[in-house]
Every structure is written in structure tokens, then in C-alpha cells.
């Protein structure tokens, strides 16, 4: 490579320019896709990669999807080496070649300047259906991948700008919903916008200058990450968390065990002691585990660090094949993304003794439901993931309350509620309520984030409901004297009066119209002793209905008048003095 003088200003502009492109790609997807999972909830990521598949920048609405795009890009670059042309498009979802989840289907587009391959643009979103035994995916009875999904190893669907109709038809002949074709077109469109923008940027800078400044960006980012890691005391730390119920054996438990080694600007996450894989679909893939690890760790370092190859370079992740977090072919793995919350718990438990000021208390674990059926108004099939219902509270930190209704740590507030009115347009259901759940937050000097309660009336007969998630056994844990959050549940109240609580991994058929669906997403864990929370803050939260009069007295030792919500200072002081 020719000698290029590094312009430090240009390095930072390049970093921002790349992010501006991935943000625009994300907006393309949000605005042109059709499934509410994508255009309302933003369950997708966009990214740019260099010719070798190294991450240049990403927009990570759902980070758990994010950190597999780079490895898949490298896989495609190697598999199709010498056979990549301008105008090509590749699809991929295969979990045994670095995919993270079957429903997360990616489109990759190579970027050329003249004859030279200079990079890749990619978009990956959660598709409304991906074949397999259960509409919408999440077959809790699956024992192997074919019962879950159509496998799409890296395949070329466009070559030199021309659609390969045979390949396209083969794929979509195996997927139930026509909307998926349209949403994959939106992914291609998003990648095309990334291709246009990155090409224009490189043409403006010149390839040699781009490459040199890209390397400078990687190097400075790596140094930044290394400095962050160096600020954690060197040593070896262990943490553990429990996964409850594998979808097949009620009462089953599996342990995630992580050993974290911090040494000289590098950090290693070793999952070798984790339990063996299950015989159901509660299994992770290497990249879903790597994503869970990276996204949890990123919350403990400077949030402004750029997301490129240099950021991940100092991080090493070891996940032996055959474990719960990296199941061997041909295991079922659809639940793998949702092992992120307990995985995060294990990492937080390992590091909280050494960097208590950087961690949060426990986050609410995901519990989710997916409803499908035929909308009687239009006689059309709908698929809805109830994002608004699943978003509980985050854990508090040493100096801040947790975030209310943020949702699982795998998204950390990047995935959004569907708008209520769009929900009633796209499904036949009628929303009854969606409100903060009183007393759901773990009490503490800083309380956890609040959870929510969601109620809706099911609007189609013969509705199919799939549940997947956790958080019905162990609540989000408190830290340093803070209390736990509340548990999750889903309950169906049938028109005939029966009330049913599905398991956390379940598949219900034939749910009739008129059934009331009730879901509680719990709050996050508190941080520090609740008696240290200022009494007037607690009284204000009682007035606002976030904390009950009883909980104020019981957990916070604060006395509030139930009529006027006035703080009884004297009674509070007395009550608080009773405790050592």
C-alpha cells in the first residue's frame, strides 16, 4: 500500500461517516419493510464490513443479532472467493455457519470500486416466518434444526444484478408468508443504500486513503478498548446463572458458567464449564453467545466507543462445541438468542465484586409471546410478536435508577413497542391496557426499572400462541442490599371462564376470540439498601402509583398518607430508626 499521511480529523470523520451510513440503512429498513416485527419493533441490524469481512460499523437495534454479521461475512467472502461480482446478493441464516438464529435472515451485498472488492453491506432482520413445523418459528418441541426452520447456508440470490429465480423460488416455496419475500427485498434495498453510500465515500477519498484511515480507525478504537479493559483489575473472575426449563422437561435446570480473565488490555470469556447442550431448542450458537457476551461487556465500558473491528479485537470468547451455549450440529437452537439474559447475569455476577460501579443489578428476563391467526376483517394471516408486553425494567446502578420498560438486555432499549393503533390495524386484537406495573421494581437506594402489565382481547378464532422466555422462577436480582424485581407471567382468560398460565416455552392452538390475554413483565433489581432512598422521592412515587403505600412502608420504611400522599416524616424517621 502506498504511504498515506494520516489526517486525524479525517479518522474521526470517517468513523462518524460510517455510522451515518449504517443509520441510514437502518432507517431504510424501518421505513420500507412490512412486518411489524421489523418496521415497528426494529428487530433488525445493519452493518458495513471491509473486503475481508471485518466490522466497519453497525447500527444495532437488537445487538444480540449484531455480532454474527462479521463472522458470516468472512464466511461468505471465503466460500465465494473469486466468484463475487458487482450486483450480487447473498442470503444467509444457517446457525451452523455462524448464524445466530434461524429466523434472523441476512442479506449481504458486495461493494466494488471499479473492479476491486472494497467492502460489504448487510442487513439482517427477524423474519415473520422461516418454514419449519410452527408458523412464525419457535417450535418448543423441536429436537433438530429441520423441525425449526429452512436452512439457508450462504446462497447467491442475485448474480451481477440478475435475480436467480430458481434459487429465490426454492427459498420462498418453503416459507409460509409472502410478506417475508417483501421484507427480504427491503433488506436488499437497505444493503443497496449502504453500497451506494460507502462506494461514494471511498471514491471521494480514494481507496488508498480510505484503507489507511480505516486502519487508523481500527487501531485507535482498539487502543481505546484496551485502555478500558486495563481499568479493570487484572485477575480471574467466575460467575454463574441458571437456565430454567428446556421446553421439554418441566423443572429442568441448566447452568451457564463463565470464567473471565482480565490481563494486560485483553479480556477472555471462557464458557468451558457450562452445562452440556439440551435435547430441545434451548441451545445457543457460538455467535449468539459471542453477541450476548460483547453486548453485556459494552455496557461496562465507555458507551461512545466506535463499533468496529478494533473494538472486538481485544476480546476473546471461548465456547466449546456441545455446550448449552454452542450446540453441535444438528441441534435445535431457536431459543439461543434468549439465553442472553442469564448469560448477562453470569457476567455481571462475575464482575460486580471487582467493578461494582460499572455493573447494573439484574435485568428483567425476557418472556415473550407470538400470536398468529387469520384476521377476520380481511381474511389474511397475521403474525405478531408482542414487543410492548415483553419489555420489563433494567437493573439499577450504583448511582442511577434502572430504566423503566426498557426490555431485555439483548436489546437494551433498541427494540420498540409497536404503536397501539398500528397494533389494532395489523392484528384483530383489541388493546385493553399497557401500563407501568406498580411495585414491580426491585427496591433500593436506586430502584430497578419498572415492569409493565399488558392486556388485550384476542380477536381471531383458532389463534395460535407461542410463548418463549424465562423469568417465572428467579426474579431480577438486587445488588449491594437492593431488592429483587418481580417475576414474569402470561395468563389466558378464556371466554368460558378458564384461566390458563402457559409454560415459558409453550405452543397453544385454538385460542378462541374473546380470550383476555394478560402479561406481566417484571421490574429490574434494585441497588443499595432501600432505606437509603430519600423519603420524599418514595412519597412522590407513591403519589404517581409506581410504589404502593404498603410497599413504601414495607420495603422502603417510608410512611405515606394513603389519601393525600403526604410524607409522614416523623413516622418515617421512627420506622427507619428501628433498623440497624
Amino acid at each position: 500500500m502506498t504511504d498515506v499521511a494520516i489526517d486525524k480529523v479525517l479518522v474521526s470523520i470517517l468513523g462518524r461517516a460510517l455510522r451515518a451510513i449504517t443509520d441510514e440503512m437502518s432507517l431504510c429498513m424501518e421505513r420500507s419493510s412490512r412486518s411489524p416485527i421489523l418496521c415497528e419493533a426494529r428487530d433488525f441490524v445493519t452493518g458495513l464490513y471491509d473486503a475481508q469481512g471485518r466490522m466497519l460499523e453497525q447500527t444495532e437495534n437488537l445487538p444480540i443479532l449484531s455480532f454474527s454479521l462479521g463472522p458470516v461475512c468472512q464466511h461468505i467472502a471465503e466460500k465465494f472467493a473469486g466468484d463475487v461480482y458487482p450486483g450480487d446478493v447473498f442470503f444467509h441464516n444457517d446457525v451452523f455457519s455462524f448464524g445466530n438464529q434461524n429466523n434472523d435472515v441476512a442479506a449481504f451485498k458486495p461493494i466494488f470500486v471499479g473492479e476491486t472488492l472494497v467492502g460489504w453491506a448487510a442487513c439482517k432482520g427477524h423474519q415473520a416466518d422461516i418454514g419449519g413445523a410452527v408458523r412464525g418459528g419457535y417450535n418448543p418441541n423441536a429436537t433438530e434444526v429441520w423441525q425449526e426452520a429452512l436452512r439457508i447456508p450462504a446462497v447467491k440470490v442475485f448474480e451481477r444484478g440478475k435475480l436467480r429465480r430458481d434459487v429465490w423460488d426454492l427459498i420462498f416455496a418453503n416459507i409460509r408468508l409472502p410478506i417475508v419475500q417483501e421484507d427480504m427485498r427491503a433488506e436488499i434495498g437497505s444493503s443497496t443504500v449502504g453500497e451506494r453510500r460507502l462506494r461514494a465515500l471511498i471514491e471521494k477519498l480514494g481507496l488508498a486513503r480510505f484503507e489507511a484511515h480505516k486502519q487508523a480507525l481500527f487501531d485507535s478504537t482498539r487502543r481505546l478498548m484496551e485502555a478500558e479493559i486495563r481499568s479493570i483489575p487484572s485477575g480471574t473472575y467466575r460467575g454463574e446463572a441458571t437456565v430454567y426449563f428446556d421446553g421439554r422437561n418441566p423443572g429442568s435446570r441448566h447452568q451457564i458458567r463463565v470464567t473471565i480473565t482480565v490481563d494486560d488490555g485483553r479480556i477472555r470469556f471462557d464458557y468451558s464449564d457450562t452445562d452440556r447442550q439440551t435435547d430441545g431448542f434451548v441451545n445457543g450458537t457460538y455467535t449468539s453467545t459471542a453477541s450476548a457476551t460483547i453486548l453485556t461487556f459494552l455496557q461496562m465500558v465507555d458507551p461512545r466507543i466506535p463499533h468496529n473491528h478494533g473494538m472486538v479485537a481485544p476480546i476473546e470468547i471461548v465456547v466449546p462445541e456441545g455446550t448449552l451455549l454452542n450446540a453441535a450440529y444438528p441441534a435445535a437452537t431457536t431459543f439461543g438468542n434468549h439465553l442472553c439474559p442469564p448469560n448477562a447475569d453470569a457476567i455481571i455476577r462475575a464482575l460486580s465484586p471487582v467493578v461494582p460501579e460499572r455493573v447494573t443489578a439484574g435485568w428483567n428476563q425476557l418472556l415473550c409471546s407470538l400470536s398468529t391467526g387469520t384476521d377476520p376483517r380481511r381474511k389474511e394471516t397475521y403474525v405478531d410478536i408482542l414487543f410492548m408486553g415483553l419489555k420489563g425494567g433494567s437493573g439499577a446502578t450504583a448511582d442511577c435508577d434502572g430504566y423503566d420498560h426498557i426490555g431485555m438486555i439483548d436489546a437494551s432499549g433498541g427494540v420498540l413497542d409497536q404503536d397501539y393503533e398500528m397494533f389494532e390495524q395489523m392484528t384483530p386484537h383489541r388493546l385493553v391496557s399497557h401500563e407501568y406495573l406498580v411495585d414491580s421494581a426491585g427496591p433500593g437506594r436506586h430502584r430497578g426499572g419498572l415492569g409493565v402489565e399488558t392486556r388485550y382481547v384476542i380477536g381471531s378464532d383458532d389463534t395460535q400462541l407461542v410463548t418463549f422466555g424465562d423469568g417465572d422462577v428467579e426474579p431480577a436480582f438486587g445488588l449491594c442490599g437492593g431488592g429483587d424485581g418481580t417475576l414474569n407471567f402470561i395468563e389466558l382468560r378464556y371466554p368460558d371462564g378458564r384461566a390458563v398460565r402457559p409454560a415459558t416455552k409453550d405452543h397453544l392452538r385454538g385460542v378462541p376470540a374473546g380470550t383476555l390475554y394478560v402479561q406481566a413483565a417484571g421490574g429490574g433489581g434494585g441497588y443499595g439498601p432501600p432505606e437509603e432512598r430519600p423519603a420524599e422521592v418514595v412519597a412522590g412515587e407513591v403519589r404517581d402509583g409506581r410504589v404502593s403505600v404498603e410497599a413504601a412502608r414495607g420495603a422502603y420504611r417510608v410512611v405515606v398518607d394513603p389519601q393525600t400522599f403526604a410524607l409522614d416524616r416523623a413516622a418515617t424517621d421512627r420506622l427507619r430508626a428501628e433498623r440497624p
Binding site: 480529523v9 479525517l10 470523520i13 462518524r16 461517516a17 455510522r19 451515518a20 451510513i21 431504510c28 421505513r31 420500507s32 412490512r34 418496521c39 415497528e40 445487538p63 417483501e182 427485498r185 427491503a186 436488499i188 434495498g189 437497505s190 443497496t192 443504500v193 465515500l201 453486548l295 455496557q299 458507551p303 410492548m388 419489555k391 433494567s394 446502578t397 448511582d399 442511577c400 430504566y403 423503566d404 420498560h405 426498557i406 436489546a411 437494551s412 432499549g413 433498541g414 420498540l416 413497542d417 404503536d419 397501539y420 393503533e421 398500528m422 389494532e424 390495524q425 383489541r430 388493546l431 385493553v432 391496557s433 399497557h434 407501568y436 392486556r455 403519589r543 404517581d544 402509583g545 409506581r546
Partner: protein, 698 residues
């Protein structure tokens, strides 16, 4: 008085900032003049009248006679912006459908920075205990499922009275499809709480998406009483002074509207203040050969930065103010707290900080001698020799250098252990860095290189700092228009009256009867025509632009494309469809015309524009290269790029002619600002009197 001069009429642009009220006067004889008066934050209309008074004096007219001759006043205001940013809006409640009161606060569960566990949610404009349920339910198509319970409104009214609520937002689920419940509740509430400002979601934003509506409506209600009181006071004072012309208010979208229309949708003024500057900047940068430019406007309190491309600022369909969603069109402008009034202080860690707190107009900088004793950016500029104490604001305001020095000594120099002059240098450098950061927000953060854009400098304090900011960002060209000090006020007279209408009309384009679309378009155009005629716009100056919001069937979001009325009348959808496919590909990277994917219509939009007479920029007489004729004296001043004080030539900028060149270091004084040139700078005056500042090549 001659017959001709007695017939001269005036148009006036008035920009009320936190510190100064800027006025731009254009006479029917073609004369352009600029004025400044101190703002009066407690009731900004007082400052407006003060300004009118000083213009009348300058024109040697009685105030009533002058006011009578003003045909149009275009006015931009920051009252709603400031109320929102400082959380000093009205005490506000929300009436909404049971079960969804928290949507306002939840903001769909977003945390803008996913990896920052210390980022807290935004305090909602309405506390939870004032978000009250009203029973009644519509389904997704607007049909009534449960009747409206007006007794809930009555009960709420009692509580709101007890709580001293001054504004109420009403937003019901699915009201976009049927406003009947909202309107009935509003009528009941207005009847029970006369004087309370009521904002109804289907009036503010009659479109689907509950969160967008509830957030925008809450903002609307929150700033409503503030704007209503202000516009009421202003129109009263203007009428009292004898003004009988049209008053037009600047909108966030870059257009203007009558006060009555503005008060009905207060949220549309959240970016009123800075919205006119980019247009004026383009008016000066385009003749100088630049269709793209950065615009920085530094007044007394705030620093606004925007980016003009192709002669225009990007209009966003929705945006945020302090992380609060507002789903109304607004120009893309970044505002930070930095201005002449920004206070300097040394923080607990020993670091020198400037702003965002401002001394404002009252008490103002220490050197004003109006009771302020804290050091501001203006005090530093005075110590640095950039301001003439006897000739500030055209000599209307005498500055007190000794007070500036005392304030800087006490609050900055002593704590830092510095000489007063070095402390002033530090203040100057810190605020320049702050403003450079604001410019980076609209360029670098969006992946644009500021070095590729000339920077148009505006505001009373802009020219003092422009060249130094440009040096920091390596921006090669700085343009200082002759009206720089009041650029925003000037831009207001370059703005057309504009009314935007939207009406939902759903259906596949191929199946909709062309006559139905044409009928809706006709109705909206008639509405626009009526409003504009009512605002005294002649019929031959009214235009209507028609747009369709189109999408592929089952998409969630629409693409807005312009259509010709003639095509619509013929029932020819071909051009609209072609435009849609093309725009979809441009925006989203693909289009589906080959696949025959059906296209549906969502909304019909009409923009009715009343074209105003716009001032023609006066030209400056041509001169030679030399500017010696304008050299007045020398003054000791700080030269930033040599980091020292020197005797610097001072030029009378009003005496400069087109083609004159001044090499730095130098100060070019105008009555309302000073252009500071460093040692490496050179300024050339162009045909319109714009100073084009570049770095001298060796």
C-alpha cells in the same frame, strides 16, 4: 414631507432572541435597514415595541405614523422553545383512554444510547397523577365500541381545578379515524374550565400512531398558554401603537402563518426562532457562488447551526426537542447554549467553562452596567479589544470596560491564577470550542466534512468568533453578509406564507376514482385559498402544490411525491406512480415496478403558498483593491493566531466598497458587530457587501 415619502410603506422582520430583539426593515422605496433593541424576557412584546420606537425615531416619524405605514410584520419567537427547554411551560394534564396513560412517558420503551446504563428516561411533561382516564372506546376503523363517558371529563375537571392545571391535552385511542369522542370531551372541558388551554390530538395531528399524537399534543398543550399570552400581548401592543397591517408568525417548518392559526397549533413554533436564518444565508451565499453552506447564528443566548444544501435546509417530517417526540415538520437546526451572554466560571474541578447559562438581556453582561456582575463572553470580547466601548450597538449602549475587567478578575482570572487578559483569551477560546462542537453536530456527526462547506456567520456575536471557529474546524471560507447581525430577521422577509393540509384517503391507486381524489384536492386548495385571501394575499400570488403519500400495499410508511393537478384531473396516475417508484428506489435502494406490486394512497397533501414580495439585496458600489479609505484608527486587540495583543487597524466596514481587500490582523467595525480577522486572514468585499474571509496563502 414630500408626497412620495409620505407614501412609503414598510415591511418588518422581527426576531426576538434571549438578549436582543433584531429588526430588519425594508421600505417600498427599496431601502434596507437593520436595528437592534434589548429583549425583555418577562414580556418580549415590550422589546418589540421598543424596537419599533427606535426605528420610528431613526426615520423621524411619529410611532403611530410609522406603525400605520408598516404593511407586514414577520415575527420569529423562541418563547415556546425556551419554555420547553427550561421546563417552564404550563402545568399540564392529559385526558386519555383508560389503560394507555403511560405511553407519553414510556416513549415506546426507547433508550437512545443502548450501552449507557446511566442514561435516564426523560421527565414527562405531564406527571403520572395528572394523566387521567376518560372512558369511551373506538375500534381501529373509528366505530364506537364503548360510548364516551362525559362524567369522567367532569370528574377530571374537578381535580384539574384543584391542581391548578393551566393546559390539557386530549388524546384518545383511534381518534385519527373518528374525532367525535375527542371533540365532545374537549367541548365539555372547555365549558367546565374556561381559560384553560385545551389541545386536541386530532386538531394538532390528525394521523394514525398514538405515540406520535400523544407526545405532540402534550407538547402543544404545554407551550400553548405561554404562546397564547405572548401573542395576545404582542397583537394588543401593536394595535395600540397603530399597526393595522398583517402580523405573520414564523413556523418551525420555515413558512409563516397568521397569529390565530399559530395559536391553534403552538407546537408548530418550537423552532420558530432560528427557522429563517438559513434562507437569508442562502440568499447571500448563492450569489457568492455557494449553493451549499454552513450557517452559524450566534446571538446573546444561543448558537444555532444548520446546513444549507442546494440552497435549502432539510425539512424533517418529525423530530425531537430535548428527546421529546414532535411529529410535525421542522427544519434541521442544532441549537446549543452559547452566545455573547454566556457566563464564564471556573468549575469545582478547576476547569474554565462558558455557558450554557446566560446573563441574557437582564441583567446582561457586566460591561453593560445594568447590574450584572458575572463575566460573559461579551465582557471577554471587550477586554480583547474587539468591541468599541463608545460605539456598541450603534452607540446606543455604552460599555464599561472596567466592570468587564473586574468581573473577569474576580470569577475567572483569580481562581485560575491568570492575568485578566489571559483569562479573557481563555474564555474566548473555550466558547469557540463549544461552538465548533455545535458545528460538528450537524456535519461530522452526520458523516459530512465541515471543511467542504463555506460558513455563513450571523448574529451580533457571530462575526467576532466566526474566523476563529473556522480555523478550529479548518473551514476555508467564511461569509459575513452585510445584514449578518440580524440575519434571521432578514430571512423572515424572504419567507412565503404557507399552509399545509393533509387529508386521509385510503385505497389502491388503481381502484380509486380519480374524481374522489380531485374533489379532496379541490377542497384543500379552496381552504388554503380562503386563508391566504383572508391574510390579504392577492389571488394571483397564490399557488397550490399537491402531493400524494403513496406506499406499496402493506408497507407501514409512505413516500410523499409531488403530482400535477392537470394529471390528477385527467385521472392519469402514470406520472405519480413513476415518481413514486423512482423516489422509493432513491430512498430505500429498490423499487417494485417490474413486480407489479400494487401501490396504495394514504394521504392527499396540499401546500398553499402565498408568494410575498421579497427585498432585492442592495448592491455595494465598486471600488479598487485598496481599503485604505475606510481605515479609521488602530486599537490594541488580541490576535488569536499569533496568541498575542497588537495594535490592530480598525476599518469602518460601512465605508468598504465591492472589491476592497483587507488583510488581517484587522477589525472591521459595523454599527452592530465587528468582524475579527486574524493575522492569517484576508477579507474581500463582494457585490452585495458580503465580506468573504479566507486564509491568506503564503
Amino acid at each position: 414631507m414630500t408626497a412620495a415619502s409620505s407614501q412609503i410603506t414598510y415591511q418588518l422582520g422581527i426576531d426576538v432572541g434571549g438578549t436582543f430583539t433584531d429588526l430588519f426593515l425594508w421600505s417600498s422605496a427599496g431601502e434596507v435597514r437593520t436595528f437592534k433593541s434589548l429583549s425583555t424576557p418577562r414580556d418580549p412584546s415590550v422589546g418589540v415595541l421598543d424596537g419599533l420606537g427606535s426605528i420610528a425615531r431613526a426615520l423621524e416619524l411619529e410611532l403611530r405614523e410609522f406603525a400605520r405605514r408598516v404593511t407586514t410584520i414577520v415575527h420569529g419567537t423562541t418563547v415556546t422553545t425556551n419554555a420547553t427547554l427550561t421546563r417552564r411551560g404550563a402545568r399540564t394534564a392529559l385526558l386519555t383512554t383508560p389503560g394507555v396513560r403511560d405511553a407519553l412517558e414510556m416513549r415506546r420503551g426507547i433508550r437512545e444510547d443502548q450501552y449507557d446504563n446511566r442514561l435516564q428516561n426523560v421527565e414527562p411533561l405531564v406527571p403520572r397523577y395528572l394523566r387521567l382516564p376518560v372512558r369511551g372506546r373506538l375500534d381501529a376503523r373509528g366505530a364506537e365500541v364503548e360510548p364516551l363517558e362525559l362524567e369522567d371529563v367532569a370528574r377530571a375537571a374537578e381535580l384539574l381545578t384543584r391542581e391548578g392545571v393551566k393546559a390539557v391535552a386530549i388524546c384518545f385511542l383511534n381518534a385519527f379515524a373518528n374525532p367525535a369522542h375527542e371533540q365532545a370531551a374537549a367541548a365539555e372541558l372547555r365549558c367546565r374550565l374556561p381559560g384553560v388551554f385545551v389541545s386536541v390530538s386530532t386538531d394538532v395531528l390528525p394521523a394514525i400512531r398514538f405515540y406520535d399524537r400523544v407526545s405532540t399534543t402534550a407538547l402543544d398543550a404545554y407551550v400553548g398558554p405561554v404562546l397564547r399570552d405572548y401573542l395576545g400581548a404582542l397583537t394588543e401592543r401593536l394595535a395600540g401603537a397603530g399597526f393595522t397591517g398583517s402580523l405573520l408568525i414564523m413556523q418551525s417548518s420555515g413558512g409563516v402563518a397568521l397569529p390565530e392559526a399559530t395559536a391553534r397549533r403552538p407546537a408548530g413554533t418550537l423552532l420558530s426562532g432560528p427557522a429563517a436564518a438559513p434562507r437569508a444565508a442562502a440568499a447571500y451565499s448563492v450569489p457568492a457562488g455557494h449553493t451549499d453552506c454552513l450557517v452559524v447564528d450566534m446571538g446573546g443566548t444561543s448558537f444555532d447551526a444548520s446546513l444549507v444544501r442546494g440552497g435549502q435546509v432539510e425539512l424533517r417530517a418529525a423530530g425531537d426537542i430535548a428527546r421529546l417526540r414532535i411529529a410535525l415538520p421542522m427544519l434541521d437546526i442544532v441549537t446549543i447554549g452559547a452566545g455573547g451572554g454566556s457566563l464564564g466560571r471556573v468549575d469545582a474541578g478547576g476547569l474554565l467553562r462558558m455557558g450554557p447559562e446566560s446573563a441574557g438581556a437582564d441583567p446582561g453582561p457586566a460591561c453593560y452596567g445594568r447590574g450584572g456582575d458575572l463575566p460573559t463572553c461579551t465582557d471577554a470580547n471587550l477586554v480583547l479589544g474587539y468591541l468599541d466601548p463608545d460605539f456598541f450597538a450603534g452607540g446606543d449602549l455604552r460599555l464599561h470596560p472596567e466592570r468587564a475587567r473586574a468581573a473577569i478578575e474576580r470569577h475567572v482570572a483569580a481562581p485560575l491564577g491568570l492575568e485578566v487578559e489571559r483569562a479573557a483569551v481563555g474564555m474566548y477560546r473555550v466558547i469557540n470550542a463549544n461552538m465548533a462542537h455545535g458545528v460538528r453536530e450537524i456535519t461530522v456527526k452526520r458523516g459530512l466534512d465541515p471543511r467542504e462547506f463555506p460558513m455563513v456567520v450571523a448574529g451580533g456575536a457571530g462575526a467576532l468568533h466566526g474566523s476563529a471557529i473556522a480555523d478550529e474546524l479548518e473551514i476555508p471560507v467564511v461569509l459575513v453578509p452585510p445584514v449578518a447581525s440580524v440575519l434571521c430577521a432578514a430571512g423572515m422577509l424572504l419567507t412565503d406564507q404557507q399552509h399545509d393540509f393533509v387529508r386521509s384517503l385510503l385505497g389502491r391507486l388503481s381502484e380509486l376514482e380519480p374524481a374522489r381524489i380531485a374533489a379532496v384536492v379541490g377542497e384543500l386548495c379552496a381552504h388554503g385559498e380562503e386563508l391566504l385571501l383572508g391574510a390579504r394575499v392577492p389571488a394571483d400570488r397564490i399557488d397550490h402544490q399537491v402531493f400524494l403519500d403513496l406506499r406499496y400495499v402493506k408497507q407501514y410508511h409512505e413516500v410523499t411525491v409531488p403530482v400535477g393537478r392537470a394529471d390528477l384531473a385527467r385521472g392519469d396516475h402514470g406520472p405519480a406512480l413513476a415518481a413514486f417508484h423512482r423516489e422509493h428506489d432513491r430512498l430505500y435502494g429498490y423499487e417494485l415496478s417490474q413486480e407489479g406490486s400494487p401501490v396504495e394512497l394514504i394521504n392527499v397533501r396540499v401546500r398553499s403558498v402565498g408568494r410575498s414580495d421579497k427585498p432585492v439585496l442592495p448592491r455595494v458600489a465598486a471600488g479598487g483593491h485598496s481599503a485604505d479609505h475606510a481605515l479609521r484608527r488602530r486599537r490594541r486587540a488580541y490576535v488569536a493566531d499569533r496568541d498575542g495583543f497588537e495594535e490592530v487597524p480598525v476599518y469602518d466596514a460601512h465605508a468598504l466598497l465591492a472589491g476592497n481587500v483587507v488583510s488581517g490582523p484587522a477589525l472591521l467595525e459595523r454599527t452592530d458587530t465587528t468582524i475579527v480577522l486574524g493575522a492569517s486572514h484576508q477579507a474581500r468585499v463582494d457585490d452585495h457587501g458580503t465580506c468573504v474571509v479566507t486564509r491568506r496563502t503564503a
